[in-house]
């Protein structure tokens, strides 16, 4: 049984999805925390509600979007790793957005007035506030990555669990369990947990000391 291909796929798909989710999530969090516009409160509630977004529903929506009968079918992305990245990014973005927003909002409430006294616009204040919130941002990114690495519902639907192509660690576990290879499943599960712990530990070791 190939073990490295699913590990590598899971890692790079989750990393790319987390990157996209971070770009979208942090941007949205900044707009929600610092912006002033009607409907902002509703959006905050909506983003927090999306924390519990079921992966299988996200998978289904992206399946319908990317299917050849769907609006984005001509891109030919269904059953590719790219489709897995997109679906997982949609799962990670709300988590990252909600966690970063919470911290940014707090920093803005506390340090916004002095920053504005010093003449900072909202846009100029943002990097400062993000710097203050770096722990929360790091936690949010790790939480988003963990969500991507561990979920199976979305990648199974949009990836198709194709051997050597879209078979990730989690979809391998589903398949091996279905084939009755419970030992292999358990081993893959341990690998998944190990990878997850290693990434978290690595993230903390890289940035945590100075955070």
């Amino acid at each position: 049984m190939q073990i490295w291909a699913p590990i590598f796929l899971s890692l790079w798909v989750s990393a790319a999805a987390t990157l996209l989710g971070t770009l979208a999530g942090v941007s949205a969090a900044a707009v929600l925390a610092l912006g002033v516009f009607p409907g902002r409160g509703v959006l905050v509630v909506a983003v927090n509600a999306l924390l519990g977004l079921p992966p299988v529903v996200v998978g289904l929506v992206f399946y319908l979007l990317l299917s050849h009968s769907g609006p984005l079918g001509d891109l030919g992305l269904l059953f590719t790793p790219t489709a897995m990245v997109l679906a997982q990014a949609a799962l990670a973005a709300p988590i990252i957005c909600a966690l970063v927003h919470r911290s940014l909002e707090h920093s803005w409430a506390e340090f916004g007035p002095p920053l504005r006294v010093l003449g900072a616009t909202r846009l100029r204040a943002l990097p400062v506030l993000l710097g203050m919130s770096r722990r929360a941002v790091a936690t949010a990114i790790l939480a988003g990555f963990g969500r991507c690495l561990s979920e199976v519902g979305a990648v199974l639907i949009v990836g198709g669990n194709i051997l050597g192509h879209t078979r990730s660690l989690t979809t391998s576990i589903v398949l091996q369990t279905a084939m009755g290879n419970l030992d292999t499943s358990l081993l893959l599960g341990l690998v998944l947990v190990g990878v997850s712990v290693a990434v978290s530990a690595g993230g903390i070791a890289l940035g945590g000391a100075r955070l």
Partner: protein, 272 residues
């Protein structure tokens, strides 16, 4: 810097998918879980340079995937559903490529007293009468459809009975559940032979004439589905039905038992 590296990884992944010509074969868990495709498809890829990506779904789901235009070729095993698929205009040419058989498996204790029987209808009647636990897949797969046809023959409607447990899952999942709750289950031979968690399960009823399990390859209608890779798909269909593919299919064994019997002499041309 780290972001640039990740972007490079994404691009690498994208280019990797576009390197060789590849087609999507929508097939069934019973074919894929038995390992037959993993054994024979590399031979095809070596000969033609065409990479085959296998989607393993139930027959119902595989046909639905193809009907949406998301697969280039289908390899499934439910004659009724296939006929409907072709009648709807999605498929144009259906060829039988192999067969194996279904069987009932269940715990050694055999509470229904059906071990050694060759009569599916009698066995199901005994199961229903004695209320012996029975696991059904309930996923509109080829095996599920075959099991439902057998129940229809008995005149008994098991749906809703406490002993009739609909798990809504694949063949392997159904075997896992049957092994855990000591229930009888209807399975295809290939998955059964390859299955590694049998516990107390043994073959109980085999050899009924209605247990023949036919696998067909269906080419897609290029008029209805212009996006599919028709030429590459035709090559794979021809190869599966041709001498090399047939020989490779017949050579796949599990524990010394042949999993599929190549049988590509029947051609079904649909009425258009």
């Amino acid at each position: 810097m780290r972001r640039a590296w990740l972007l490079a990884a994404i691009l690498l992944g994208l280019s990797g998918t576009a390197r060789a010509e590849s087609i999507v074969l929508a097939s069934t868990t019973s074919v894929d879980n038995s390992g037959v495709l993993a054994k024979i498809l590399p031979v095809f890829t070596q000969q033609t340079g065409i990479e085959v990506k296998v989607l393993a779904q139930g027959t119902g789901q595989a046909l639905a995937t193809a009907a949406r235009g998301d697969a280039d070729l289908v390899l499934v095993h439910d004659p009724d559903a296939e006929a409907a698929f072709i009648a709807q205009g999605h498929g144009i040419l259906r060829r039988e490529i192999a067969w194996n058989d279904f069987l009932f498996v269940g715990p050694k204790s055999d509470a229904a007293g059906i071990a050694g029987s060759h009569d599916a209808v009698l066995a199901l009647k005994a199961i229903a009468t004695k209320g012996v636990a029975f696991v059904t897949r309930g996923d509109k797969s080829g095996t599920d459809a075959a099991e439902k046809r057998l129940w229809k023959k008995t005149g008994i409607n098991p749906v809703g009975q406490p002993w009739y447990r609909d798990i809504g899952g694949g063949m392997g999942a159904a075997l896992n559940v049957a092994a855990a709750m000591e229930a009888v289950v209807f399975t295809d031979r290939g998955t059964w032979l390859s299955f590694q968690n049998k516990r107390d399960l043994v073959a109980l009823v085999e050899g009924d004439a209605s247990f023949i399990n036919r696998y067909d390859v269906i080419q897609m209608n290029p008029v209805l589905h212009p996006n599919i890779k028709q030429e590459a798909a035709r090559k794979l269909a021809d190869w599966l039905a041709g001498p090399v593919g047939q020989r490779e299919i017949g050579a796949v064994e599990q524990g010394g038992v042949q999993l599929f019997h190549p049988d590509a002499d029947k051609v079904y041309v649909p009425r258009m």
